[in-house]
């Protein structure tokens, strides 16, 4: 089953990393990702731009376009992984590995209901 691992973290905190700290975290995460990739289990991975670049469309009638992210929370959705796992335990293990590489914040693990891979956007 495919699981989405949604990355939540305090954006201020992540934003205060220096270039070097950021690169170090990314390097550690790459190790975990490479392992999953070799096993053929890694789907798309995305790191989102800061929530200041977000726009929200509320599906009212008529729809309303608002500046900013959907939820004003202490921690923000900063990115996600899609990983193929046999069961929830395996998905939690993957999240644990990712968490060890990048401590702090939280991962929300959600089974994927429908996945349309699409092509590589150009």
């Amino acid at each position: 089953m495919l699981y989405a691992i949604l990355c939540y973290h305090d954006e201020d905190f992540v934003g205060s990393w220096t270039k070097e700290q950021d690169a170090a975290v990314m390097k550690k995460l790459a190790v975990v990702q490479d392992k999953l990739k070799k096993q053929g289990r890694l789907g798309p991975v995305a790191r989102l731009l800061p929530t200041t670049s977000a726009t929200t469309l509320r599906k009212d009638d008529p729809p309303v376009v608002l500046d900013g992210p959907y939820a004003e929370t202490k921690e923000q959705l900063l990115g996600f992984y899609l990983v193929d796992c046999g069961n929830l335990d395996e998905a939690v293990d993957v999240a644990r590995d990712l968490g060890a590489a990048n401590p702090g914040g939280a991962y929300e693990i959600r089974p994927v209901g429908l996945f349309q891979p699409g092509g590589e956007p150009t």
Binding site: F13, G15, S16, A24, T52, S53, V65, L66, G68, P103
Partner: protein, 423 residues
């Protein structure tokens, strides 16, 4: 990250909100800063054992207030006759302590904290130093390094700035809409000053001063998160990102300035450009134009061009035209003339900057640009005079070196002709 690095990062990201709230409680910058320092010391003891609190800023505000109040209570016992003022202030604070920590003020707390650094009587350099110390929490040593002055001199500068701010009357009530807009625009200008302090550094000091650009971007993002729907703050943030995206390409290995046309565009930071472009897109939807948005749009046109030849100079000329109307300044006209030279030729551009000569008679870039136009027109002797004047006015060695390169080119161009003539 090392084991304690996460604490440093958490403390520094919580700082603006925490110091801002403590300032509202104590109404005194020194007391607020001291309370925050004390709270940080407690955090360094408590967090490694207990883990980080759910909301670090709220934790620091609460602890900072408690410690400060405890201290005054203690000194009250030691000194039986404290100043009346101190007592009344404290009673006030104690009463509020009973209230639940209210998060709704934090937007105006942070804005106020930034705003007091923009006191109109403070010269620009003091505003910047104060903001970096108070809001960003850089050490005096770090700030002194960025300004290339001694630590003692910077310490004095900040102390003086604080004294001036302390005398000023900053209203602590929640600001009204007009007042808030005024504060926002003053703070935006100050953030842009911080950025320019880093951006205008020469190649020899870019490494030391570059972090000022990053700090300015951090503050701009912070401001934008607080005021999500402000197109000018989107524009400011976009402008800083798009300019800073070119940082690595702006200097060569010897620290000499590399002009936009000659930069290796492969070195430009694409994620930063993507973020800048996304912000301009958002800002434009509001249809409330402003100087930051226009400057960001100009920077975006450069960023979008894969090669210098693909630059949309016609559009840049139009944008500078709009900026001239909004914010008339000889420097804007000078910048517009560069676009005009690409669209309509050096002759037209030269004509455009001729009336600026008296107002920009001490401005390095005026003579650099003028020399370049004259050189394009083959008026080499006049070009050489303009370049000589530019070198005399250069602010950094990188600027001077860049003009010298032009002069060398002039010499080279004329030398073979002379040689041929001699044959």
């Amino acid at each position: 990250m090392t084991d304690t690095a996460w604490i440093d990062a958490a403390l520094s990201s919580a700082r603006p909100q925490a110091v801002g709230a403590l300032l509202r409680y104590f109404r005194n910058l020194d007391t607020a800063e001291e309370a925050f320092q004390n709270a940080c010391l407690r955090a360094l003891k408590s967090w490694p054992q207990n883990g980080p609190p759910r909301d670090p800023a709220a934790w620091l505000i609460m602890v900072g207030r408690n410690v400060a109040i405890d201290e005054v209570r203690r000194s009250r016992k030691q000194a039986p006759l404290p100043e009346d003022e101190a007592i009344s202030d404290l009673d006030d604070a104690e009463e509020r302590l009973a209230e639940r920590l209210d998060g709704s003020h934090y937007r105006d707390d942070i804005l106020r904290l930034l705003f007091i650094c923009c006191h109109p009587e403070l010269p620009a350099t003091q505003q910047i130093a104060l903001a970096l110390r108070v809001v960003s929490g850089l050490t005096v040593k770090q700030i002194a390094r960025a300004f290339l002055v001694s630590e003692a001199a910077m310490e004095q500068r900040i102390t003086r700035a604080k004294a001036r701010v302390g005398d000023a009357d900053v209203p602590f009530e929640t600001p009204g809409a007009v007042e808030r807009a005024e504060r926002l625009s003053a703070v935006a200008a100050m953030i842009y000053l911080i950025f320019n302090e880093g951006y205008s550094a020469g190649g020899d000091t870019a490494e030391i001063r570059g972090p000022l650009c990053e700090e300015a971007i951090r503050l701009a993002r912070l401001l934008l998160r607080l005021f999500q729907g402000e197109p000018e703050i989107m524009g400011l943030t976009a402008l800083l990102l798009l300019q800073h995206a070119r940082a690595v390409a702006r200097f060569d290995a010897d620290g000499a300035l590399v002009l936009l046309d000659d930069q290796d565009r492969g070195l430009w930071n694409q994620p930063m450009i993507a973020e800048g472009l996304a912000l301009i897109d958002k800002a434009m939807r509001h249809r409330r134009s402003g100087p930051y948005q226009i400057q960001a749009a100009i920077a975006a046109l450069h960023a979008r061009a894969a090669t210098p030849e693909e630059t949309d100079w016609t559009q840049i000329d139009l944008l500078y035209g709009a900026l001239e109307i909004m914010q008339p300044s000889p420097v804007v006209t000078l910048n517009r003339a560069v676009a005009v030279s690409k669209v309509r030729g050096a002759e037209a551009a030269l004509e455009m900057i001729e009336p600026l000569s008296s107002r920009l008679s001490n401005y390095f870039h005026y003579f650099g640009v003028r020399g370049a136009f004259l050189m394009q027109l083959g008026r080499n002797e006049e070009a050489r005079m303009a370049f000589d004047r530019a070198i005399a006015l250069a602010n950094t060695s990188a600027e001077a070196a860049h003009i010298r390169m032009h002069l060398d080119r002039l010499m080279r161009d004329s030398a073979p002709r002379d040689a041929e003539a001699g044959k």
